[in-house]
Amino acid sequence: MSYDDVEIEDMEWNEELQAYTYPCPCGDLFQITKEDLKLGEEIARCPSCSLYITVIYNIEDFLADSDKNRQNKGLQPVAVA
């Protein structure tokens, strides 16, 4: 059973691990990569114990993230000289 449901906005991006992380009660971190998220994976696992969490996120946000023409979507106006 999933230990908890955690929204992606409550997870922290960890440069070193190249993963979104959230504290695990064992002291380590639940981890999930952007690649996992793009594939629709919603389970973030802890490398040190058997627990895992369910990540709540919108897959489109991550598919869009890989779009090189992000500014064309008009979601975030980009200042152009």
Partner: protein, 493 residues
Amino acid sequence: MEEGEKDESEGGVWSWGAGTDGQLGTTILEDEHFPKLLHQPLLSSVSSLACGGAHVIALTSAGKVLSWGRGNSGQLGHGEVVSNALYPKALTSLDDSFITHVAAGWSHSAFVSGLDFSAVSLSAVFLKRISVESDYTGCVFTCGDGSFGQLGHGDYASHSSPVKVSCFIDQHVAKVACGMRHSLVLLKGHCSGADCPGNQVYGFGSGKRGQLGVNIDRVKSVNVPRLVSGFEGEEIVEIAANGDHSAAVSVDGHVYTWGRGFKGFDDAHTPQCLNSTLNFTKIALGWNHALTMSGEGEVYMLGGNHPGVLGDPQNTKSEKHLPFSMHSGDQKRQPKCRTNRLREFVKKDSNMTALEFEDFREANLEKVPGLDGMKITDIASGAEHSFLFSEHGEIKTWGWGEHGQLGLGNTSDQISPVTVSLGYDLNEAASIRVFCGSGFTFALGSGSELPVAVYRMESQESSTYFGIHDALCWKAMCSAPKAPPKFDNYEGM
């Protein structure tokens, strides 16, 4: 016993559980499934501990601080970011202060200074008396991860050395508590007889689950301390924080909780008084449960066994017999109590059948079973494990055990309290205190009930001995009717 001849079995420090970041102080990165006595000379004077996500802050009887374990956010306070520290190391940057209280969160730390040595002449400290009113400063220092504002410095910066929280410079801070991403500070009220305004509590850091208790509306985070509202003039003497939970205990024995709702309950954005006639003296928080102890030595639990841990498929067999999970088969039950007010249910008979439990599934506060009237003198909670200490020196534990954090020599979970042995026959007078981190545990033995740092309070009536860490004693001091009490430090300086 002569000073300096401290028996190790009485004054020892033991650790067990997850050792992935050196948090056990065993100098190796390995889990320990049995309590391990630490042979670190530096630890011989430790009087109190605070265990965080994977780091430990130790307070010595001389008001000095040691730390070890994970340091990747600067939470060890040594002025550097290190992946981990395997050996206890002194925090030299706090040498100017006499630290009276420490706290450890997931990746941040906090320190309360009782006395600023740079502001008090040394002769006053060693030879004369220290006036509480004039010299007790009670400042808060924080270090570690500040990305949620949990350091309280008005920004989201992290610090690898303790930095004084400017908001409290002119205040008398009594205690500090650190949760996963937030902090609480308890001020010592300026009591003057009947005109006592009550001690104030401040919160800062992440407030998404209501754990700051500063506003009915959702607060994502605040980076400067904000006053916690809703104590209705009660005098708060204890605070606690862990995970996304916060709690406080009043001098009248009322328990307040706020933050993430315990199983089946909504989040509470302001402190909610536990509706109970019991007189509570302490609360210990986990990430999904709370233990609270009454003045009569009884222990009650909020939240029950967390389904993600003890309801794990491999444990479903035992889950059916959970002695204090009131609605384990009904995880999606919506809270019927709209006010979030946690209602009390005192289980009179621990031999109730499962059917009878179903009848009381709305109940949230449950008496910890299987203690057979044993009087409990202390409680401690890790993220998902619990400890009790009885008046006869027995240590009881239950909860999640995957890293050996229960100290039973295995990695099994326990659904009801079982006895842990430290491997020593403890002296009758010995007192053990247990401190829990996320997935690890420390035990600290001392020869008496009092912390090693003992001060003498001189009032005009009598001399009273008490530990400076004890909020109730602070209260006694505050309510002393005559001249400001004086401290005469006779030990441990």
